[in-house]
């Protein structure tokens, strides 16, 4: 097991290197010039050139790439072209809101979606099953921002139960932190719930038709025990896989959700940086997201062993 983990961690190095090369090259080729944006309208071409030189944007591709990689290896992600703040500082400022949003969304989604999927499979063909499937179709079809607007309108504007926007750090109290995350987490989680519920239902249907389930029923095991102890555990591997893949979905969705609910997270940082061509910030955030995704995949792989004793690394 430990050897496997070690091998996987080692394997992340070439993956991250490819990501780094890809991100850097893409930004190098992308149109747009931060120097022109910084220089403003009254600057002469010489001024723009001077800014470009001061930012190091006039140097050859390989020199810039080499320097960037060297700095990353030293733990330095660079300095934002526009804010003049270290990228690592900007990321640290934004990690908590995004992490909070993702954790709450994940917990909420799994808590709701798995029982939904189980019930749908158990009650296959009934109104409950159709209701779950209808919700799943709706969850897939309605964009995150629409769900967000509707939730904000109903629960914040009309009912005045929850705040419309913003983020309160956890250090300022559990409830102030949580109340700001409820609506964004539901909005972001809708598609995730739909995805997990569908997969849970499909996998459970397959497991419930297995011989050992029939045997358990014949032995007189209760319905709850059959569903949650025997069937769900055996259906867990595909469900966990989808939960892991869904993390990427959450990262993408967080960009929109953070904008709709004005949460100062990494998603908004990314969008702002892209619109302004703030290369060091874009590179830093994309690298971070890639690393998180690689890490999540590793954790998912390890979780398999927990649910299926036959899997050994």
């Amino acid at each position: 097991m430990w050897a496997y983990i070690f091998r996987r961690v080692l394997a992340t190095i070439p993956v991250m290197a490819i990501v780094a090369l890809f991100v850097f090259s893409l930004l190098y080729l992308a149109p747009g010039d931060p120097a022109a944006v910084i220089a403003g309208d009254q600057a002469s071409p010489e001024d723009v050139e001077r800014i470009r030189a001061s930012l190091g944007l006039d140097r050859p591709y390989l020199v810039r790439f080499g320097e960037w990689v060297f700095n990353i290896l030293r733990g330095d992600l660079g300095t934002s072209i526009f804010t003049n703040l270290p990228v690592s500082h900007m990321i640290m400022q934004r990690v908590e809101p995004t992490l909070s949003l993702m954790v709450v969304t994940l917990v909420l989604s799994v808590t709701i979606a798995v029982p939904m999927g189980v019930v749908a499979a158990w009650k296959q063909g009934t109104h409950a099953d159709r209701a779950v499937m209808a919700f799943a179709v709706l969850g897939f079809s309605v964009p995150v921002f629409v769900v967000g607007y509707v939730l904000a309108f109903v629960f914040a504007l009309e009912l005045d139960w929850l705040p419309v926007q913003g983020y309160t750090p956890l250090s300022e109290g559990l409830w102030p932190w949580f109340e700001n995350l409820i609506l964004p987490a539901i909005a972001l989680g809708t598609v995730y719930i739909a995805l997990i519920a569908r997969i849970t239902r499909a996998t459970m249907l397959e497991v419930l038709s297995q011989d050992y389930i029939r045997t358990a029923r014949a032995k007189g095991v209760g319905q709850r025990a059959i569903l949650f102890l025997h069937a769900l555990k055996n259906a867990a591997v595909p469900i966990v896989t989808v939960i892991g893949i869904g993390i990427a979905l959450l990262i993408g969705g967080a960009v929109v959700t953070e904008s709709v609910f004005a949460i100062p997270g990494l998603g908004r940082l990314t969008v702002d940086a892209i619109l302004r061509r703030d290369y060091p910030v874009i590179q830093g955030v994309v690298l971070l997201f890639s690393f998180v995704y690689v890490l999540v995949n590793l954790v998912i792989d390890l979780l398999y062993t927990l649910f299926d004793p036959r899997i050994r690394y």
């Binding site: 149109p31 747009g32 010039d33 022109a36 944006v37 910084i38 403003g40 309208d41 009254q42 600057a43 002469s44 071409p45 001024d47 723009v48 001077r50 800014i51 001061s54 934002s80 526009f82 804010t83 003049n84 703040l85 900007m90 400022q93 934004r94 607007y149 904000a152 309108f153 914040a156 504007l157 005045d160 705040p163 419309v164 926007q165 913003g166 309160t168 250090s171 300022e172 109290g173 559990l174 409830w175 102030p176 932190w177 904008s259 709709v260 609910f261 004005a262 100062p264 908004r268 940082l269 969008v271 702002d272 619109l275 302004r276 061509r277």
Partner: protein, 530 residues
């Protein structure tokens, strides 16, 4: 741990969390003004970053030697008195007594000298002063002198104007920073201190009242007069989504929204706790900008042809919607309803639109159907709207439009290219100028026409430049107006750009906030909250 004890401990944690939350008293809330700015405060150096949002935020921290009032007259601000020699070549400025920086050090003449040196590198009027400068030096701690090689009658306007970059004063050690590098310390002598530790670019910026600020005795009037803060704290909350900002304002989560989306104004009007009014009476001037270096727009007849089919009501309808109070037809280039506005020579803009005249001019100008590359930023609603209307108008006269839908970042980079279209150049792009910048020729970039040195598009029209020179030399308002008429007449022939209309925008605030006044930027002094 069993389920019951787990739930019990969870409840305790939740309760302790709730207790740990800071209680913001009603008094404290009333002393904090929460403001939604037009854009993200991505940097905080008003000389390095010339965006309006940086200028607006800088007004809180940094003070100016002079400030214009609502008649565009520069008034003394940090300066107590000034003296100009009879030949107009030597200016001597004396600072007010008791001015202090936020680090409690006194404001000295040396600080102002260093600040002006830095500003002069980046500002258009500053560059003119720099070219004439013989000496700029401190005489004593409160006095400094500027000696010129030729008179510069617009000196006080240059030092007190509201156009970016404003001549903000900074401590000498900060002002010594290269003008092309950002400052890293945000110390000013203005009415508010910047809370650097609370700054999250893209999300939030905050300021705390500077108790040692010495306001002038006069009533506040735009950039001039006593800047008395009625709140202890100002918070800027960046809202990337207009619908969310509208909801936050309705719920009282923010107090003041600088630029509400026009589409949301009816919703806000229905809320009796919200007040709405025009934000900036000087508004904006829409601009269809040509590249004068390459065919077909290197021929003035082709530019005139486009002017014949630019129907401002169509453009403005697309930009501001059906609210007729928000826009005006402009048959000239200067900001309507300001002293220098003139329609001299503007018949081509005021007469009924004429496709026939446009087609004739196109033919005379030798247009042969070549593609016209039109850069249209889709991420800025007003520019996207202008692009759509212009596309239809140009096609109606037979122009072969290559509509390039892109983002503003790309337009910003590509418009700097002087290459032909085939090598990455362009023919037309859209933008707008703040009406405050178009009240006179000094800061009106779009109306410069000195070829290679001019703004993107690089028009070359000696007649416009001659008029501009006359304005700078003008001794009184009548001479200034005459110079502007000359510029307008020339511009209506050569069309450095075609104005697509004059439009304004609303601002909105909660009913418990008072003292908000319209102006070219949001003034925070005098604003209070109950």
């Amino acid at each position: 741990m069993d389920r019951r004890s787990f739930l019990q401990s969870g409840a305790v944690v939740a309760a302790s969390g709730a207790l740990a939350a800071p209680a913001l008293s009603q008094g404290a809330a009333a002393r904090t003004l929460r403001f939604v700015p037009q854009a993200n405060l991505a940097n905080y150096d008003p000389i390095w970053g010339t965006q309006f949002v940086v200028r607006n935020a800088s007004m809180l921290v940094w003070d100016t030697l002079y400030g214009i009032d609502n008649t565009f007259t520069p008034r003394r601000q940090m300066v107590e008195s000034e003296e100009v020699s009879s030949d107009g070549l030597t200016w001597t400025f004396r600072l007010r007594e008791g001015l202090r920086w936020h680090d409690n050090e006194p404001v000295r003449a040396q600080d102002c000298v260093a600040s002006l040196e830095r500003w002069m590198v980046r500002d258009g009027m500053g560059q003119m002063i720099r070219a004439l400068r013989q000496e700029l030096a401190a005489v004593d701690d409160r006095t400094f002198r500027l000696r010129l090689s030729a008179p510069y009658p617009k000196m006080l306007l240059a030092l007190g104007k509201n156009n970016t970059p404003i001549a903000f004063m900074m401590p000498e050690r900060i002002a010594r920073t290269d003008p092309f590098q950002q400052i890293t310390e945000y110390v000013g002598s203005g009415p508010m201190r910047f809370n650097r530790n609370e700054w999250v670019p893209g999300a939030r910026a905050t300021w705390t009242k500077f108790d040692q600020y010495v306001p002038r005795d006069e009533a506040p009037n735009w950039l001039s007069g006593g800047k008395r803060m009625m709140v202890d704290r100002v918070e800027w909350i960046i809202q990337p989504d207009p619908a969310t900002a509208a909801a936050a304002l309705q719920q009282g989560e923010v107090d003041w929204w600088e630029t509400p989306l026009n589409d949301l104004i009816p919703v806000l009007r229905r809320n009796r706790n919200i007040r709405i009014d025009v934000a900036d009476p000087l508004g904006n001037v829409g601009c269809l900008r040509f590249n004068h270096l390459h065919a077909p727009f290197n021929d003035p007849r082709v530019r005139q042809a486009v002017a014949w089919v630019v129907n401002q009501p169509d453009f403005m309808g697309a930009v501001v919607g059906g609210d007729a109070a928000l826009w005006k037809q402009m048959n000239g280039f200067f900001t309507p309803e300001t002293p220098n506005y003139t329609e001299a020579g503007g018949e081509i803009l005021s007469r009924p639109r004429s496709v026939a005249d446009a087609r004739r001019l196109l033919q005379e100008g030798g247009y042969n159907g070549q593609p016209v590359t039109m850069l249209v930023a889709q991420d800025i609603a007003a520019l996207s709207a202008m692009g759509q209307v212009a596309n239809a108008a140009l096609r109606s006269i037979g122009m072969n439009v290559d509509f390039v839908a892109t983002d503003w970042g790309t337009v910003g980079a590509r418009r700097a290219s002087r290459e032909p279209v085939a090598r990455g150049g362009w023919n037309i792009f859209f933008t707008w100028f703040a009406g405050a910048d178009c009240t006179n020729p000094a800061s009106y970039l779009g109306l410069r026409a000195h070829g290679d040195g001019a703004w993107f598009g690089w028009p070359n029209d000696p007649a416009i430049e001659a008029g501009r020179d006359k304005w700078f030399a003008a001794a009184n308002a009548a001479e200034e107006k005459a110079a502007c008429e000359e510029i307008n007449r020339a511009a209506c022939q050569s069309f450095p750009f075609v104005p697509t209309g004059f439009y304004r925008a609303y601002q909105a605030w909660r009913g418990n906030v008072t003292g908000i006044n319209a102006g070219p930027l949001p003034w925070f002094w005098g604003v209070s909250k109950s």
